[in-house]
Point group: C2
Chain length 340, copies 2
């Protein structure tokens, strides 16, 4: 099953609908419309059917997934039926997921080795001890076709080709052999990065922030795990039509199941949470010595997950930047008079 979100212009402005591809993947269908038809056929009034359908299929994919199998069942019915009455005439897909939280790992060794060399560091041991991640901004997600913003504070905008792992069912303390039961599907993730400020920030040890949080891209679809293998997917990136990356997710040093299991230790993973695998090998400009420019066309493709296309916008206005502080001695020690 391929789930996505479609934007429709209405009297209330742009309205987002959760949609599913028909069985032959040639058409998109409004899942809420399908649920409403089914309720009507069961004797519901027009108002009752609308109310039930809206609660089963809200505009938010995360909220829809939080309905569990009640939502997935109506989505499956809508796809199987592929009724003409629910068909979206002119699909305009947006970010397939509006994640409730976003954590991005770094599990492709060749990519992270490049990254550490770029920072003049050797690869730290921890990268081989467990999957390491940073958290991103769940509110900054764009979708297919959106122009990627170029913050005024960066000269080095970059894309990152990743697999996005979408949690469908909540869970904590999972082991890898059951972790995939909590994953509803996979999607393409572009963890857009501003390399110059990212490098400065990461010197502080707290990870990237301004270097990442201004935008991420997800979509065009979430393909459910029952339709595809979870490992070994071909991943390619093209910039202005030229192939810049051609690799496979088989090169991950931790599996999707291990990433999910580790993320769930001591924490509750919730429906609509997004876990990224980190950049695939060769999946950014960092290792290529090619940079991006405004107007560039980025196409990220993953087997079974479609193509995620975006163009690069023009640099934004000059930012306000803080005035540097005088560096004081590191050795200043508080008089801890209240402790022996």
């Amino acid at each position: 099953m391929r789930l996505a979100r479609h934007v429709e212009n209405t009297l209330d402005g742009p309205v987002t609908r959760v949609v599913v591809a028909g069985a032959d993947h040639g058409t998109w269908h409004d899942i809420r419309g399908s649920a409403r038809r089914r309720a009507l056929a069961g004797g519901a009034t027009r108002e009752g059917a609308a109310r039930l359908a809206e609660s089963l299929v809200p505009a938010s994919m995360s909220a829809a997934l939080a309905g569990g199998s009640a939502f997935l069942d109506v989505a499956r019915e809508a796809a199987a039926e592929a009724a003409e009455e629910t068909r979206i005439e002119t699909p305009a897909l947006t970010n397939a997921l509006d994640p409730v939280s976003y954590r991005d790992f770094m599990v492709f060794q060749e990519h992270f080795s490049f990254g550490y060399r770029w920072q003049n560091r050797s690869v730290p041991d921890v990268m081989y001890e467990f999957p390491v991640s940073y958290a991103g901004d769940p509110l900054a997600f764009l979708g297919p076709g959106d122009v990627l913003p170029w913050p005024g504070y960066t000269q080095r905008l970059d894309y990152e080709l990743e697999l996005g792992v979408v949690i469908g069912r909540g869970g904590t303390g999972l082991a890898p052999d059951t972790a995939l039961e909590h994953v509803v599907g996979l999607t393409i993730l572009n963890d857009v990065s501003a390399r110059d400020i990212q490098a400065r920030e990461m010197g502080g040890g707290l990870g990237p922030s301004k270097g990442k949080h201004f935008a991420s891209v997800i979509g065009p679809v979430i393909t459910t795990l029952d339709e595809i293998p979870v490992e070994g997917l071909r991943m390619t990136a093209r910039v202005n039509g030229e192939l810049w990356c051609d690799t496979t997710s088989a090169e991950m040093i931790w599996s999707v199941a291990e990433i999910v299991a580790w993320a769930s230790q001591g924490e509750m993973l919730r429906p609509g949470a997004l876990l990224g695998t980190g950049t695939c090998n060769g999946g950014s400009t960092l290792e290529l010595g090619h940079w991006l420019s405004p107007g560039d066309q980025i196409e990220l493709e993953v087997e079974h997950l479609g193509v995620l296309r975006n163009s690069i916008g023009s640099p934004g206005p000059a930012p306000w930047t803080p005035q540097a502080r005088p560096r004081e001695s590191d050795g200043r020690t508080r008089q801890l008079h209240f402790l022996r």
Copy 2:
């Protein structure tokens, strides 16, 4: 104005209500109830008044703040009126904010200097160039009185006494002189930390993840900026009744306005976003050489913001942990046949 959230047990299970303190701070009042009374007085039907009040005052503080001045006006009215009919008889406060996103800075020099020494590093220059932050999990927030979970993967649980800055009005590209117009108020933030895994993770350069994301605590109230000074608040921490920290927010090397302004460059800050200042000087056990134990009682107090009390829970079950990977050569280079 002091805003908070109260939990009430109902036929539908625990239900959260956004509440406000009466003018003398002695009573808590249900803002939705106040809005409903006002609508009834304006001629609304019972059903119409309930619908209007629910849309103005949802259960989520972030969603309420997203209503802008329409929400703040009804909150102010409820506080001024402090009507007996809206009074919460037995207040049970929970996390005052359910943030839509969470970013935590590190702007107290003495604390971060201790932190870097603890990591055997000198303070990196970037700490004096701009405010550096990491993103946390917006879904892991607890409130006053909650028992803090002790993940099975840590031996070194710690508290962090911080100021929480709550965004009330969206904005991007802000300068410090207008940034505070986008802050609705301040609260106490405990950025609970697992020091051992945090230190290992931070060696990877992506910042903390398992060391932080399992829990944060916020509350008991959000005090609006019109009532308090934004700088120079006294901050104290007591563990089992003993004073472990006594400092002031005046020691921040970047102001609240500068933190908000920097966070907003190239990004849209949204109502309900939470920015932490990072640990105040002396505000964790890191610099004290005292550790926490299960059962410890933590009291964090900030002038005008109340006291945030929590106890430390028992260690959780032994986690699943990944099997370390063999370390490969860092120097492996992909044959980039498709690039010159």
